[in-house]
Amino acid sequence: MSNELTNLGVKEIRDGVKAGEFTAREVAEAFNAAVAEAAELNAFIVTTPDAALEAADKTDAKRAAGEDLGAMGGVPIGMKDLFATHGVQTTAASHILEGFKPEYESTVSRNLWNAGAGMLGKLNLDQFAMGSSNETSYFGNVSSPWRKEGSNAAMSPGGSSGGSSSAVAARIAPAATGTDTGGSIRQPAAFTGICGIKPTYGRCSRWGVVAFASSLDQAGPMARSVEDCAIMLGAMAGFDPKDATSLKMDVPDWEAALSSDLTGKKVGIPTEYRMDGTDQAILDSWEQGKAWLKDAGAEIVDISLPHTKYALPAYYIIAPAEASSNLARYDGVRYGLRDLPEGAGLQDMYAETRAAGFGDEVKRRILIGTYVLSAGFYDAYYNQAQKVRALVARDYEEAFAKCDLILAPTTPTASFPLGSLNEDPLTMYLNDVFAVPASLAGLPAMSVPAGLNPDGLPLGLQLVGKAFDEQMVLNAGLAIQERAGFTHAPERWW
C-alpha cells in the first residue's frame, strides 16, 4: 500500500483523499517513511514528519466533518529551505543561517498550508540559491536519483532547487516548492525528468523567501505532471500587500482551463538558441518537441531573439549586484551566526562572521556584485547590464507579436556527475544559458520532460509564454506530456 501511495501525484492524492480511497494520514505516513529511507540522496536538510502528520490529521478531520479540503488537501510536500517556516530551521543552505528558526511564515508556504498541504521537511539547495548543481550547500551535495546507464557515479540533480528535484524524481515527495532566479526551477526539473514552472514575476509573493536577487527571484512548483504544477501554482500564487512587487491580479483557475488543443496557436522557435556546445540529443529532442506541438494543432514559426547571447553575462552582473546588497543583512547582529574573536570590534565581527558563514560561491558573487556597483564601475557594468536587460525584454515583446509561445531546450546538456564542473565557475554558469533570458524578462517559463538521452538521463523542453499567460505555457506543456509519454522513473539504489 505505502509503495503505491508514494507513486501518486498531487491530483491523485487530493482526489483519492477526497473520495475516501485512502486517508491523508496514510499518505503522510507513506511519504515520511520514504523520506527516512532516502537519507543517501541528502535531499532534505531537516525532516518534519510530525508536521506532515498534523496537517494530514487536520485534513482527515475536515473530511469527517464534511468540510472543503482545499486545492492541496491531504498532499504532503517538500519545502525548499529558502522559504521561512515558523519555528522550523530555515538556512538557505548556508552556515550563516544555521539554527535560524523564523518567528513567521512565508506567504507562499502559508498559502500552501491553508490549501491543505502538509510539510515533509525543508529541502536542500545551493547556498543562497547560488549554483546550478547543488554542490554549494553547506549541508552537503544532493544526489540525483538518476544515474548514467552502466555507471554508479553520483549525478547532479541540478540547482539551485536540487533537493526539490531529487525528492520529487525519487518519489519521496509528490511535489515540492522551488524558486527560480535564473533557471533554478527549470534546470533541475530538466535534469531529473520532472515538471517545473516559474510563473510571471510577481505572481508568487516573495515575502518570507530568503532574498538572492529580488528583481529576478520567483517561486514556483515542481512536480511530476503538468496538472500537478497547475494545481500547486494556483495554491501558491496570489496578491500579497507585504510584497511591493506582488501582482494585484486575480489568480486564474489554471487547472480547470487546462487544454492540450493548440489549434490556431503559433509556437516560435528562436534561431539564436542553436548554440555551439549543445548536445545533439538536446537538439533532437527540440525537433521532436516541434513535431509534438504541431501534432497538437500549433503552427511552428521561426523567430529571432537577437540579444540571447548577452543575457547570461548581463545576468551575472545584475544578480550578483542585487545579491551583494541583499546579503549585507547577514551581520552577526540580528540573527544567524556570530563570530566574535576575543577583543574584536564591530567591524571585525562583521568580517569574521561573514568569512566563516558564507561559502566560496556566495563570497565570489558578493565580491563581483560589490565591484560592479562600486564608484567608477557602476555605469560600465551595472547600468550597461540593465540596458541590455531592457533589450532582452524588448526582443521577447517583438517575438510575441508573431507567436503565442516559445519552444526551446531547457539546458544545453543533460545532468553531469557531481564534482565534474567544479574547476571553473564560468562553465557551471553556462548551464543556465537557455533559462536566464526568460528570467531577465520576468516571463512565465516551464520545463517538461521530453525523453531520455543515449545515457539514459532525462532531457527537458522549455516553454516560455507572454507575461501573465501561464495558461498557454501549461497547455503546451500538457500537449508535450501527452505525446512524450514520459513514464521513466529512476531505478532505486538508495
Binding site: 553575462p313 540580528r334 569574521e352 565570489r364 563581483i368 562600486s374 520576468g442
Partner: protein
C-alpha cells in the same frame, strides 16, 4: 578591466568579508575570468536605451495610513524580532563596544 590582489582586498573590505592572502590570490583569476567574460556586454549598441527598472510594469501602492495595519509586519514584536539574535540583552541587540 581586470582586478589585482590589492583591488580584491579592497572589495572584500567593502563587502565586510575577511580574506587571507591565499584566498585573495585564489579569487583574483576567478574574478578576472568572470569580468573578462561580462566585458562582451560592451559591444551591445545601447544608444537611446533606458536601463530596466521594473521587469513587469507595476505601480507602487500606498497602504492605508493605519498603525500596525498588518498584524504580521506591524509593531509590538520585540520578542519575536530578538528571538534569533546571537546576543540579545535587555531587549536590545548586543554588539561589541563601538566607542572607545
Amino acid at each position: 578591466m581586470s582586478v589585482d590582489k590589492q583591488t580584491v582586498a579592497k572589495i572584500a573590505g567593502l563587502a565586510r568579508i575577511k580574506m587571507g592572502d591565499e584566498e585573495l590570490e585564489r579569487m583574483v583569476p576567478e574574478l578576472n575570468n568572470i569580468l573578462d567574460w561580462v566585458e562582451q556586454l560592451g559591444e551591445v549598441d545601447v544608444e537611446g536605451v533606458e536601463p530596466m527598472t521594473a521587469v513587469i510594469p507595476n505601480t507602487l501602492r500606498l497602504r492605508d495610513d493605519v498603525v500596525d495595519a498588518d498584524p504580521l509586519t506591524g509593531g509590538g514584536k520585540r520578542n519575536d524580532v530578538l528571538a534569533n539574535a546571537p546576543a540579545a540583552e535587555h531587549g536590545f541587540f548586543g554588539v561589541p563596544k563601538v566607542i572607545e
